[in-house]
């Protein structure tokens, strides 16, 4: 990224209130902002700063702080910089605004986050189930959903004691022949 680009971008970003920028390296920029300011930031980046590619929206469940973190990864084909915009929203009720009107691909990511984390995006075109069509439990990617515990409670263990295992156990069990001994036999 050239110095001129970087300066223009910095001037643009000053328009957003309360933005905090961190440069990880020349091609990665982290922006921490308040949740209310995000749609304005995205509209600015897409409309006036060539950030046309929404790479992904990631959600992180910070259960101890009772917050969800939403991360919008944006890429500019012109300046070759990836901006990650981080916001925090309260875990309850877990409602945020859709950015589908700014970035079309957001619809997929928002649908996915709604399914996996239970965050509802107001204004998103489709919040119906996609992957977990037959799942009626809580959103599984939340930290308070313990998949191992759920498996233990839902499924019962089956006794597995076939004849070949019984034979093995009668002979003393364990590994009968080591790989080395097999190789020696073949010689």
């Amino acid at each position: 990224m050239s110095a001129a680009h970087s300066q223009n971008l910095n001037v643009l970003l000053q328009e957003i209130e309360g933005i905090h920028l961190t440069h990880h390296n020349p091609r990665r920029l982290r922006a921490d902002i308040a949740a209310e300011a995000l749609p304005a930031l995205l509209a600015l980046l897409r409309g006036r700063a060539s950030y046309v590619h929404l790479s992904a929206i990631s959600c992180v469940d910070w259960i101890e702080e009772n917050q969800f973190e939403l991360v919008y990864h944006l890429w500019s084909y012109e300046t070759s910089v990836l901006i990650s915009a981080h916001i925090r929203i309260p875990r309850e009720p877990g409602i945020y605004l859709s950015v589908f009107d700014i970035y079309t691909p957001a619809a997929f990511f928002e649908r996915d986050i709604h399914e996996m984390f239970g965050v509802y995006f107001e204004g998103s075109p489709d919040m119906s189930k996609f992957i977990l069509t037959e799942w009626n439990g809580p959103p599984p990617m939340r930290k308070d959903f313990n998949s191992e515990k759920w498996v233990m409670e839902t499924f019962s263990w089956q006794e597995y004691h076939p004849d070949w295992l019984k034979d093995l156990e009668e002979q003393g069990g364990g590994i009968v022949s080591t790989p080395e001994s097999i190789r020696m036999d073949n010689k």
Partner: protein, 380 residues
């Protein structure tokens, strides 16, 4: 007055009918369904239906050690597993501040490009099969097998190599490997002429593929299309060159583009990419003997390895497009959160739903395959 529980029932017009395309069909590598609404032979509406291959990788990874996850990630995309390992490793290395030895970087590029060629061979075969041409499919799978032999020799695994790990690769190359690799590349390069005659210039294929599933460049940018599908619309962008990782900035390669944006252009871009990949591997073969040093930075006891708190977003160019991993650590011995952004998540859902509309029913499978989507990347 309508009763309180009144619900309107929408009966479709009598000339419309629904067809469940899948979950098992020739249009895609894996189980994935497309519910299409047809008027006569023409699709008027399409809805993607995923979830047949959902294994909950992102949740599983939160319960496993940083190093254990390496054996999970390649399973997310079967035809092209190496970028998964490399991308996860790159993200963890950035978080942990691990310096990657130079030799390991070259070895990773070698695998990435081998995997790209193998995935493209698979793609040509599958794409040909959707138009009823089965010979290229048998050829593609057979030639891919030669590359899998090389993977087996290098890593011990034919498909899931589990060879990359945070800090480098597991071990150095076997003796004489570069010679055998070089021979196989010569063979594959020679075979490309046969593929041209049989498949790429074959009028049966050209007439079927031209004008199918057209994406304009504007639409491609709007829908976040990436990788070869984007280059088929005329935009010269490649993560390897424009957001370079490993040692790609030291290599010479072209970025082939096409302007049609249709199934034909998407196939042709991949055909041209194979030549570039072969040239990249040849550069690696030439340079590798002079690069000395270890292939792995030692990490502390992997069973108790704690990665500093933070987050990182690593991107690589897989054979299907932009692949990215968002990894978050809270300073523990396991990842706090891993988000996988597979290229197919865009191609197989939003793009496909739009492209399928207006297609004739016999072109739906070809449209799907021409996007080279991998359902397990959508389901994760």
């Amino acid at each position: 007055m309508r009763p309180e529980n009144y619900q309107a029932v929408n009966h479709p017009p009598s000339n419309e009918y629904e067809l469940n395309f899948g979950p098992n069909h020739p249009g895609i590598e894996g189980n994935y369904a497309l519910k299409v609404k047809l008027q006569g032979d023409t699709v008027v509406e399409a809805r993607a239906d995923a979830g047949y291959l959902h294994r909950g990788f992102e949740k599983l990874m939160e319960d496993r050690l940083w190093i254990q996850n390496i054996s999970l990630v390649p399973r997310i995309c079967v035809p092209d597993p190496v970028p998964m390992e490399v991308c996860y490793s790159l993200a963890v290395e950035e978080l942990a501040g691990l310096e990657l030895p130079e030799r390991a970087q070259w070895l990773r590029v070698l695998q990435l490009e081998l995997s790209r060629i193998a995935a493209h061979l698979f793609y040509f075969g599958g794409h040909a099969a959707t138009t009823g041409m089965y010979t290229p499919m048998y050829w593609g799978v057979a030639d891919r097998d030669l590359l899998l032999d090389l993977f087996e020799e290098l890593t011990g695994g034919r498909v899931y190599s589990i060879y990359n790990m945070p800090g480098g690769v597991r071990q150095d190359i076997p003796r004489g490997f570069l010679q055998r690799l070089s021979d196989t590349l010569d063979y594959i390069e020679g075979r490309l002429k046969d593929y041209d005659n049989l498949f790429f210039t074959n009028q049966i294929f050209v007439k079927r593929a031209k004008g199918i599933g057209i994406i304009s460049q504007e639409q491609a940018l709007e829908w976040s299309v990436t990788g070869p599908n984007l280059r088929a619309c005329g935009l010269e962008f490649d993560v390897r060159r424009d957001d370079p990782y490993l040692i790609y900035d030291q290599l010479k390669f072209d970025i082939p583009t096409e302007h049609g944006g249709d199934a034909w252009a998407r196939t042709l871009v991949r055909r041209l990419e194979m030549v570039e990949s072969i040239s990249i591997i040849r550069q690696v073969i030439k340079a590798l003997p002079d690069i000395k040093g270890p292939v792995r930075t030692p990490i502390p006891n992997p069973l108790a390895w704690r990665v500093p708190a933070g987050d990182s977003y690593a991107r690589v160019e897989s054979s299907k497009g932009e692949l990215a991993y968002y990894v978050v650590s809270n300073g523990g011995d396991k990842p706090y959160r891993v988000h996988i952004r597979g290229p197919s998540a865009m191609h197989a859902v939003q793009v496909l739903e739009k492209l399928a509309v207006g297609c004739r029913v016999e072109d739906v499978a070809q449209t799907m395959f021409s996007l080279d989507a991998c359902p397990p990347e959508v389901d994760r």
